[in-house]
Chain length 674, copies 2
């Protein structure tokens, strides 16, 4: 769901136009506050809106990335010119969607195209905030609240995307629509536990007016009691407090931050923020001790799209099939992290910036944190006894985590990118926050004789069944950008040689995917395989192909039918793994214009082109999912549930790359006695 | 593989016979050193061995657990008598296997049965150590070493179990057999990287003599260079050291240890050690804040068996299909944990004890560690803005970990049982140590024209493909011992109501398993489902069945054919989930007598009885697995690879049980500046 929550955190920073020469930027740096301001100035010069000549809103402003060859040439110092510094803007101008490319060196719009396809850019926060205000002045809604005996001043509303359900769209009747959902405070801050059901209120966001209203029936609003989650509102008994525990680094963190380049242990990578993707890792390379050189692993990695369909087909709920990144902006949903709680004591924080609807920069303080993690785990160990030489060698697992939290309305997604000294990258998402619940007359399961599409969590409260799917776009460049995708299938093999007492074993049958259709994988349903991204042009000294492998976590596939509209729009969920040929424009698994999209521009459509992917620049798309049947423990706020996957070097190094990690010095002086 | 490694750690403690009254023990406490001594005294009274009247070896000595009703009565104070304190002994006496029950109160053997079925008790460490010495005095072996130009004093040998491959066993020809594998030191301590191939040396352990010897061919022994993993032996360049990092609890740990009862946060459980299972969690209960009572979750949980089959059917390797718990003792493989490295600075350590082959107690110092983990993660959070009341509530995830490491020869298994404040139990195993590799003539993959059954990891070194399967036996008693197993299947459902624009959704179809055959699950291959253990006799206030659910991790199934002998012996790997009716004698998924077993007494056989499991005392068996295709990074020591699963309360509590966890106090004074 949407969040207007952040209005309170927004500090509009209107910098004086102070142009830093662009060669001080890394070509992948996010736009700076003054670059946002410049973009706004340039665009409003062409489309002045102050005098009501144009109705202009900035739906998205972000870096227009230089092409990959340009960035790689710049990195390798094979070019003397800096890549151009440009912005990509999706604007609504006089009810049309414009795709603008603004060049900051030339201080001009270098491309301006009107988009005429299906779908719209993401909602702005202002789109939502403004729509959320409309009900209060809408007499039928006011009457509905009165009829229910609800105090209008305790009602709070939030915009919800509406999806697409096969409606034919007339060319001149394009409408950006939201449904406004309302909740009741009156004694709690946990609005999501107090939905006001039975009403559909539809807003045309362009006109910013209510275009549809239906008050079908009155459903009990669940009670406030027991819904609040603030410590200040809790009554005893409390849980006995644990003794304090913290992480200490007496000499400070081991990583350095140079602009937006992070260096830690053998890793180097670039960190950036995008209003749509949120956290972006780029140019991750690892230093190879043996050859004393950095070697590429990842060109760019980020969350591409989310799909959160609810499993209630009734009038009140059927349209809740959210594409959180494309509809609301996964980056726009980033909220400040709380030191000592969201990230440990040794974390370093970073602010991030995005453009408001007016194009002006907005600062989100503490949007990212970076910290070293020591969870008490072991990187490697062995105990052995050889005569006279007892051996026990143990190395602690210390890793680096980059984190942000995207609060998309009720849900909080904790996004972790963890870099291990061994070369492994672990990607994790933790789901917490509150459920989106449905009001009901029931107070006990014995009363329920119809389908309620979820679990009775509390009196008058149904936690509606739903899914979460996250699509990660990972442009792997394993030791160079020409890579192949290899399925090392483990095949049961009968022993035909009569001299062996064994009847079977498994052997590895490595198959290189030739085209995109060879690389669509429903995990769990196929022959077990190691899924490798190899550089077929490089070998280890022993002749093994140099690679990284994908280690999936728990596996979830879609359950909606293929012909369901929301499933068509989120067709990226159909496979857990897709590999496509690199194409700079293919970034968003649900399409660039996901809002009210028709599913014609998705990862599934691109993959259907069935391009060759052998020894090419290729991109991994990994779909991670959860089927969420709620339980009472998820009420009124959910304990975190996590999922993830790993990318692990596999014949990338000649041998264990952490063999020569020394035991860290003991810092036992700080340790409490026990 | 076996480990005689621990001989050096063994401190034989021969206590004076000092009998502590048994009512000072918890009925599930492991046998104490003086109880081991008592058992030995009692048994040797009946079977005196000093005068060579009897050939007696103690293959296993452990607690003979009181029956579950007795323990539960004792716990609930419904009995005034203490459960009897008894030991279960598997002894070889005059070449027969005796199952003895020794009563420590009565100071007598109360049951003595000769076992005449297939298979043998686990090997003792002494079985292995003695067998390992035989080659040095065996002229053909000495000649083989000379022929290879190997120095005998640099040769080191280890016993390997031999499995069973369909050989008919004559009643009077029962032999406990090991194959002795030899390796070459000469410049390294990493013996597993220097196998001496081409030789099969077979030992009758009862006779303790070599009964078979074959020297087929000479295979290059891989070089020592690059195999050592000791920091002291490393040459520059080293990895640049990270700054120190540690966990600090200024007020000490929050848990208490009362005997072997651990209390932490809302958890209480009993911790014990067994030579076969290793770490055992019993009587885990969680305090329910709302009703101010402890509620049962787990009666007993431990690793039941491991299966590690190698995928090389040749003469040298085919028999390497290890059942680590039943053949070697997963507990016997426990070695001391290193403070600050194996467990963090805030850990508390515990010694464990087992019986040597002579029945005398052996102490393994620091066999377990217990510590609170704070990895920088979030237990729950949400950010919300309601007018005038910005809200951000975040709680840190602090958990309790109990750990041991079982080093079964080359492999180190890090076993973690993690208790979360939310009621979740996470079970994790980390695999590290060294591979079991095969010598080869090849130094580059281009030379390889035959099947080598693995990966060329280094010159002359093949990492042989293999699997690891762990079977966890978890006797769940969710809020009482009568439980049912419910599959809440998520079924795609077509929308037939024409009034909904949706075409599909999923709904939950809960099916209660009636008998054991309903509860065998190959994960990933069936309809997605939540797998719940519910108490059908208790409901939440809202009427939901009280339960815990199993959240699997990555899923692996067996690839050996069903008719393969080792697969028959390890048939427990066929399903990821089994649920059986509680039977105190069904503890070991590969059978009590796993050594050279024929697979007639396994979890699969018990499940075939197809007992009713609805509203009964039931046991979950979870199979976790890894298909391990080695990569060069695994050489010469492997970075840890982890797997696991969760048990999570699901309508067990009325609402989120960690809602009332207070923010811990900040202890920022200790934090280094950054």
């Amino acid at each position: 769901m949407s969040s207007k929550s952040k209005t309170m955190f927004i500090f509009l920073l209107q910098f004086l136009l102070f142009i830093i020469p662009s060669d001080q930027y890394h070509p992948l740096d996010s736009l700076t506050p003054d670059e946002f301001t410049q973009v706004r100035t340039i665009v409003t010069k062409t489309y002045p809106c102050s005098s009501n000549i144009h109705n202009l809103t900035f739906q998205y402003v972000g870096l227009e990335e230089p092409t990959k060859p340009l960035v790689l040439s710049w990195l390798n110092n094979t070019t003397t010119t800096n890549p151009p510094r440009q912005a990509f803007v999706m604007a609504r101008i006089d009810r049309e969607t414009h795709e603008l490319i603004v060049d900051l060196s030339k201080q001009s719009i270098v491309s301006d195209q009107v988009y005429n396809g299906y779908g719209y850019p993401p909602l702005t926060i202002e789109d939502q905030v403004n729509a959320d205000k409309l009900p209060y002045a809408y007499p039928p809604f006011v009457a509905s609240m009165a009829k229910r005996g609800l105090k209008l001043e305790e009602v709070i509303c939030e915009s919800s995307s509406v999806g697409w359900y096969g409606e034919e769209t007339k060319k001149n009747d394009k409408k950006r629509i939201v449904n406004v959902l309302c909740f009741y405070l009156d004694g709690t801050v946990n609005i999501y536990m107090r939905p006001i059901e039975g009403i559909t209120l539809t807003v045309d966001v362009e006109e910013m007016k209510i275009i549809g209203y239906e008050d079908r029936d009155i459903v009990t609003v669940p009670k406030a009691h027991g819904t609040d989650y603030r410590e200040s509102e809790m009554k005893p008994p409390f849980r006995p407090p644990l003794n304090g525990i913290t992480v200490v680094q007496p000499d400070g963190p081991s990583f350095t931050v140079d602009g937006r380049i992070i260096r830690w242990a053998d890793w180097e990578f670039h960190l950036s923020f995008d209003a749509r993707a949120g956290l972006i890792i780029s140019l991750a390379s690892i230093f190879d001790l043996e050859i004393q050189m950095y070697r590429q692993v990842v060109y760019k990695a980020h969350v591409s799209e989310l799909f959160v369909p609810y499993m209630d087909p009734t009038k009140d709920w059927y349209y809740r099939t959210f594409l959180d990144a494309g509809e609301y902006g996964y980056g726009l949903s980033t909220l400040p992290l709380e030191p000592f709680r969201d990230c440990p004591a040794n974390a370093v924080f970073m602010d991030v910036y995005f453009a408001g609807q007016d194009g002006l920069p907005v600062k989100m303080p503490n949007g990212f944190c970076i910290f070293e993690r020591y969870a008490g785990d072991v990187m490697w160990r062995h105990t052995e006894v050889v005569p006279g030489k007892p051996v026990r060698e143990v190395r602690q697992e210390v890793s680096l985590v980059v984190r942000n939290v995207a609060t998309v309305g009720n849900y909080d997604y904790i996004n972790d990118w963890e870099f291990l000294q061994s070369g492994t990258i672990k990607v994790k998402v933790g789901l917490t926050g509150t459920l989106e619940v449905k009001g009901t007359k029931y107070t006990h399961t014995d009363q329920i004789e119809e389908e309620v599409y979820g679990t009775l969590l509390s009196e008058n409260t149904i936690g509606v069944n739903h899914d979460h799917f996250l699509s990660y776009r990972i442009d792997l460049d394993v030791d160079g950008d020409a890579n192949s995708f290899v399925k090392s299938k483990m095949q049961t093999t009968r022993v035909t040689n009569q001299r062996s007492p064994r009847k079977s074993y498994w052997k590895v049958d490595s198959q290189t995917a030739k085209t995109e259709s060879d690389a669509r994988i429903k995990l769990g349903l196929e022959t077990p395989a190691n899924l490798l991204f190899v550089n077929p042009n490089r070998k280890t000294r022993l002749g093994n192909p140099i690679g990284y492998r994908l280690i999936p976590g728990a596996v979830v596939g879609p359950l909606l039918s293929d012909d369901d509209y929301s499933q068509m729009r989120a067709a990226f969920t159909k496979y857990n793994v897709w590999v496509t040929r690199y194409n700079q424009s293919e970034k968003w698994a649900g399409g660039l214009y996901a809002y009210q999209s028709h599913g014609d521009d998705t990862l599934a459509a691109w993959s259907d082109r069935n391009r060759s992917i052998e020894n090419e620049d290729i991109v991994l798309w990994y779909t991670l999912g959860f089927h969420h049947e709620p339980y009472q423990e998820d009420f009124p706020v959910m304990p975190t549930l996590s999922g993830g996957f790993e990318l692990r070097p596999s014949n990338f190094f000649e041998s264990n790359p952490v063999l020569k990690v020394k035991q860290p010095k003991d810092i036992s002086g700080l340790v409490a006695p026990h």
